[in-house]
Each structure stands twice: as structure tokens, then as C-alpha cells.
Amino acid sequence: MSEDRLDKMRLELRRGALVLAVLGSLRQAQYGYSLRKALLDHGLDIDEGTLYPLVRRLADQGLLDSEWQQGVGRERRYYTLSQEGVELLEKLTQEWQALNGTLTTILETGR
């Protein structure tokens, strides 16, 4: 399989999971760079060009609350889960776990 095709498939595979990862990481308030770092610390490397617009889209959908805060030397926009986001995260987590279990079974059976 070519690298190009692998990259495309990987991107497709990660697309839905990224939303869950971002929502899961925003139980505590984070600003853009700290969120990226938190995800990276967990082993999920997301390009800034993908992450920041994604966070904004989630906020526009009402899943995140945001607030500008004056930090050391400069202002930062902090994001955290809204009530709607909390409820959605709970449902998505269940969905993810069920899907993960099913996929694990399928992949193990196929070996």
C-alpha cells in the first residue's frame, strides 16, 4: 500500500475519533496550545491547522463554552465542555466503547 493511501485512510479513521478526544480533553478548561500539548502527552499528535478550527466548530455547535482570560503576558481563549457537550460526550463514549469492542472482536476473529 502506498504511503499516500495509508495517510488518507489514517486521516479518515482518525477524523471521528478526534472529536471524541477533544471533547474528552476539555472536561477541564484548556486554551489552544495547552489542549494540543495535552493530547500529545497522551500520544495523539494533531496538527494545529486541524485542531484549532475543530475546537471552534465544536464551540459554534454549542458543545463548548469559551472565555478570554488574561494570562502571563497575553490573553488566551479557554475552552471547556458546555452542559450539552457533557451529555454528548457521555453518549459518544458509550458509542465508542461499543464500537471498539465490536471492532476488537472482528479484528481478533479475522486473524
Binding site: Y31, E48, G49, R76
Partner: protein
């Protein structure tokens, strides 16, 4: 203006007015955090090269702006099949009307210039087609935006029972065929009844006219052409060949074959009106007769083809009735 300001400004220019300041402010804060991280890692202030590398990693301002405020297409991919269908019919009708209009101008002209008439047809179609294209696109855009699209456009409320019975590719009647047939019928009707719509001055300029022999058949030809127009409209509303449609097509083509064979055998098809002409009427007659004969033979082939298709559909229906 430093590199970062230049970059943020370039991104803001590509964003919708209402979001410019907010997104620009946030993007700048995020990039400054990245530059701070470089400072922490290297122990020195980020150089111009570092800044340039960070900004280039973010991407071209146009791409960055598109990620923050994605451009929505005028017609979504879900509506594209309905859009293409409506567009093809709208452009087809435009071509039909333009052909009739250009045909009228061509027949009423004092000098027959085929090339000029074709160019007028093309120019008229492009002009009207552009208007139709824009109008259909705008209607779809506005209807989708206001949620006023009919169910058929978004394929809602469909039933599998309503799908046409179509087992062969050839059963699909192409829109281009329908439009060509309708244009042809319209043009010939205009030609036959030219005395009723052409200006007196244009009529007097005519160099040739139909002979009395062929004029006797023109009412029959007109009736058949009108029936073909009705049949064409029916085919446009249900563009699938069924047994009934094949039967009717064989019938109408057989009648055309008879008429065109008669025309090919008539002694004279056109006569001089008395206006001086350089046309050789005998050769013109021979040409038209040959054309009538060739077209009749082509229609015989179509009858044979449709008869085979009819038999195929009949056999399949019999096959379905036999229990397995």
C-alpha cells in the same frame, strides 16, 4: 509589519467580515503560544526563521481561513442528482426553444445562409443557457437554504414499489434523444405551415415551395408530427422504454416510413414560385428524395430494433410468471 501580523492580516482578509476579528485574535494567541514553546525549548527568542517555519506549518492563509470558515457549495452533493436532472431538462428545453426560434428566423430570411443560422443558434443557446444555468443553481441554493425543497429532490418519502421496471440499460430514454426528436418535429411543423406564420414579404421572396403532390400529404404528416410531440412529452415524463412505448414507437415509425417512401417516389417535391433562382430544382428534388429514402431505411432499422426489444421484454415477463 512583522511576519505574524502580516500572516494574521492575510488570513483575516479571507474570512467572512463577522468572524474576522475573533478568529484573527484567537489564531494570533495560538501562534504566540507556539513561539513561546520554542523559546522554552531552545532558551532563546524565536528568530524570524522560526516564526516563518511555524506560520508555513499552519498553511497558506487561504487554506487556514477555509478551515475556520469552510465554504459551503451552492448545491450540496445530496442534491446533485436532482440538480443535474433539472439542469439537463432546463437546458434541453432551452435548446428546443432556441432551435425553433433560429429555425423561424432561418426560414423567414430572404437568403438561406446555413452556417450563419447555425452560429446564431449556438450564440443564442449560450446566451440563454447561461441564464438558465444561473437561475436553476440559484433556485436550488435558495430552496435548500430555506428548507423548501420538494421531497423528490432530496429523495425523501420514496418507495421501492415506485421504481421503474428497468432491466436493461437501453430501456433508459436519453434526454438528448427526446430533445432532438422534439426539435426535429417542431422544425418540420414550422416548415410545413410556413404560409401561416411567415411575413408576406418573406413569402414573396421564396424561390421554391412544396409541389401539389406533396402538399396533399402534409396534413397527414402534421398529424403524425403532433402525435410524435405528444409521445416525446410522455417519454420525457417517464423516460423508460416499456412494452407499450415500444409498440407506439414502432407504429409511429412505420407510418413515417410509409410517408417518406411515398415522398421518395413522388415525381416532384418542390416547385419554383416564379422568383428567379440559381437552384437546380431537378437536382434539389433528387437530393430530397434520396434523403427521404435514406431516412425511411433508418426508420425501418429502428422498427426492427424496437421489435426485438419488445420481444425481449415479453419473454422476460413470461419467464417471471413461471413459478421456480
Amino acid at each position: 509589519m512583522n511576519l505574524l501580523q502580516k500572516y494574521i492580516h492575510a488570513v483575516k482578509l479571507e474570512l467572512p467580515q463577522a468572524q474576522r476579528e475573533d478568529i484573527g485574535r484567537e489564531l494570533q494567541a495560538n501562534i504566540l503560544d507556539q513561539l513561546d514553546a520554542i523559546h522554552e525549548q531552545t532558551g532563546r527568542e524565536a528568530s524570524q526563521d522560526d516564526v516563518a517555519a511555524v506560520l508555513e506549518k499552519h498553511g497558506h492563509p487561504v487554506q487556514v481561513a477555509a478551515r475556520y470558515a469552510p465554504v459551503t457549495p451552492l448545491v450540496s452533493s445530496e442534491l446533485m442528482p436532482a440538480y443535474k436532472l433539472v439542469m439537463s431538462y432546463a437546458l434541453g428545453i432551452t435548446l428546443l426553444l432556441q432551435t425553433l426560434k433560429s429555425g423561424t428566423v432561418f426560414l423567414a430570411a430572404t437568403h438561406y445562409k446555413v452556417w450563419q443560422a447555425l452560429m446564431q443558434l449556438l450564440a443564442g443557446f449560450i446566451e440563454q443557457g447561461a441564464l438558465v444555468f444561473t437561475s436553476v443553481t440559484l433556485v436550488f441554493y435558495l430552496a435548500a437554504k430555506s428548507g423548501m425543497l420538494p421531497n423528490w429532490a432530496s429523495n425523501k418519502g420514496w418507495r421501492v414499489q415506485d421504481l421503474p421496471e428497468q432491466e436493461h440499460d437501453w430501456q433508459q430514454i436519453r434526454g438528448s434523444d427526446i430533445i432532438t426528436d422534439l426539435s426535429g418535429c417542431g422544425f418540420i411543423l414550422l416548415l410545413i405551415w410556413h404560409k401561416y406564420w411567415m411575413a408576406e414579404a418573406s413569402l414573396q421572396q421564396l424561390r421554391v415551395d412544396f409541389s401539389p403532390a406533396i402538399t396533399a400529404y402534409l396534413p397527414w404528416m402534421s398529424l403524425l408530427l403532433i402525435a410524435s410531440v405528444v409521445f416525446g412529452i410522455w417519454c420525457a415524463s417517464q423516460p423508460v422504454w416499456s412494452k407499450l412505448k415500444l409498440q407506439l414507437n414502432i407504429l409511429q415509425n412505420s407510418l413515417y416510413v410509409i410517408l417518406f417512401l411515398i415522398f421518395s417516389q413522388l415525381e416532384a417535391l418542390v416547385v419554383s414560385t416564379g422568383t428567379p433562382t440559381i437552384l437546380d430544382l431537378q437536382r434539389l428534388d433528387q437530393g430530397i428524395q434520396l434523403g427521404c429514402l435514406a431516412y425511411a431505411l433508418y426508420l425501418v432499422y429502428e422498427c426492427w430494433r424496437d421489435a426485438r426489444r419488445y420481444r425481449l421484454l415479453s419473454q422476460q415477463q413470461v419467464g417471471k410468471k413461471i413459478p421456480a
